[in-house]
Amino acid sequence: DVKVTQSSRYLVKRTGEKVFLECVQDMDHENMFWYRQDPGLGLRLIYFSYDVKMKEKGDIPEGYSVSREKKERFSLILESASTNQTSMYLCASRRGGLTDTQYFGPGTRLTVL
């Protein structure tokens, strides 16, 4: 079974803090994704990566950056957390192109005070 893990289920940070969300997949997938989920808005793509050190912006990249130094790990970074970044963050991975399925991690619920 594909396993996507996220470093924390719940996280509480203060405004202005730098926040790291970590995601690890164990199936050698090429593609990895970060989404945020908000009520009534579904999942929105923040960034994705199709290879080590490669990244592309999604729909809402502002206020976020990412890092992929190793194939299995994809990190989401909030340089200076703000209250409007309080949300559920979901990581996903996918082996190849559209014919493959995205597998999701359990999510990290981030609260910024």
Binding site: R9, N31, F33, Y35, G40, L41, G42, L43, R44, L45, F48, Y50, E56, G58, M88, L90, A92, G97, L98, T99, T101, Q102, Y103, F104, G105, P106, G107, R109
Partner: protein
Amino acid sequence: AQKVTQAQTEISVVEKEDVTLDCVYETRDTTYYLFWYKQPPSGELVFLIRRNSFDEQNEISGRYSWNFQKSTSSFNFTITASQVVDSAVYFCALSVSNNNDMRFGAGTRLTVKP
């Protein structure tokens, strides 16, 4: 542009009722894939089904069935004889050939009461 609409925000049924979750999509691509995911209270999205644009056959898996109609751009999901364990948020999603990501609907929260 790609878009997925799940018009039903919340649905509540009593156990053993049948329920249909609607999904309407928009795309100009001729090659695309449609998905349904289930998000139980634990939070992790669970893959249910993938359908490509060239296969309009309906699919049944146990109590779950999917009705794909290109004429109405819909990919509806029916749960027959619903159970309490079906309570979750269900997402419909779309992938197209010229894009590397998936476009998700807003989700439908299904509550099945005993």
